[in-house]
Amino acid sequence: MAHGRRNGAGGRLGGFAVLCLLIGVAARASAAPETFNTALPVARGEFVFREQFVYRRASGDSTPADRELEVLGAVSVLGYGVMPDLAVFGVLPVLDKELDVTPPAGGRVTRATRGIGDAQLFARYTLFKRNFRGGSFRVAPFAGLELPSGDNDARDALGRLPAPLQLGSGSWDPFGGVVATYQTLDFQVDAQLAYKANTEADGFEFGDEARFDASLQYRLWPRRLEGGVPGFLYGVLESNLIHQGRNEVAGAEDGDSGGTTWLVSPGLQYVTKRWILEGIVQLPAVQDLNGSALEDDFTVRAGFRVNF
């Protein structure tokens, strides 16, 4: 039996990108986006560490299974400036996934898994930059690999957990894209195009993911700048347009997976010379998912960054 497709209660999770939780939770800097990358520099020899806590909920299932999904995550990111234009990043998530479902036989069942998810390694290179007084414009392509560090064979009393509920995909998945950043003392705009090619492992393959992200960060305080380096409070508004292809199980497409989602996300970010505190809520504005794929209610992200 092809695992991940049907294995008792909760088998049909619909697989909408529980793993895409991780992509774009990457690096750097400054008044950078909270849900994806930035092109702002990491100085040579500088480290940036970021920790982001994530809570995601998906419910409102119209099928008899009445699925409810909760995911808690702590995503750690370490970035290093190899050269002024080249930075490398490592991402390691720790996840706690829980799915409540009503099986065909009745009752209510909880299926859960906890542990390290799939890590990511990637590099970002500044291809173009124009520095001017009080601002800059940069364009930086990036590329990397998602590693199968998370368990993809977790089981419970009902058998093997469905693939989207596993901590990892079991596959080596390359990804890449390009991010552009325009920054002034008053605001910053970032935009990113990214693509992840999910590969097959143990007869299961998540659909590829393509995304277009945009972010506006506007300095709310202080209203007037004087000397020194004061902390900046930014109001943040981000947009994530994500399309995921259908999953494949033993070469056959799963009609209840994949689709397109548009998230609109308001947030706040306080930036000092040495640390950043930030928080954002991702709200689904549009969800056009295939079949009975489970839709998101919301995702909350909060965390901090430090440089050293």
């Binding site: 990491v42 100085a43 520095n131 009080g134 010379k273």
Partner: protein, 106 residues
Amino acid sequence: MARMIRLTALLIAVLLPAAALAAPARYQLQVDGLACPFCAYGIEKELKATDGVTGIDIDINAGTVTVTMEEGAAMTEARAAQVVEDAGFTLGAFNEIAAAADATAE
């Protein structure tokens, strides 16, 4: 008494220029691209690793970094440009400030 006064005046005339010459050098770097607090740390870290640097004052609104050197030390424009570039920015201008010597003269 008159001899004492002449001697004192002579000492002041000799020591004053010497004090001015020994005043720490200060430089003002115009940093193009610097536009937010978190980015400023990269420049500060590089400068702290530079021999002779005793003080760093960043004005993010003006986009300037004022560097104070220890007595007898100097910074070159080439070194300043390297520090700024290593942080991902561009050196827009490099000027030596005479304020420390002026303060001594007063």
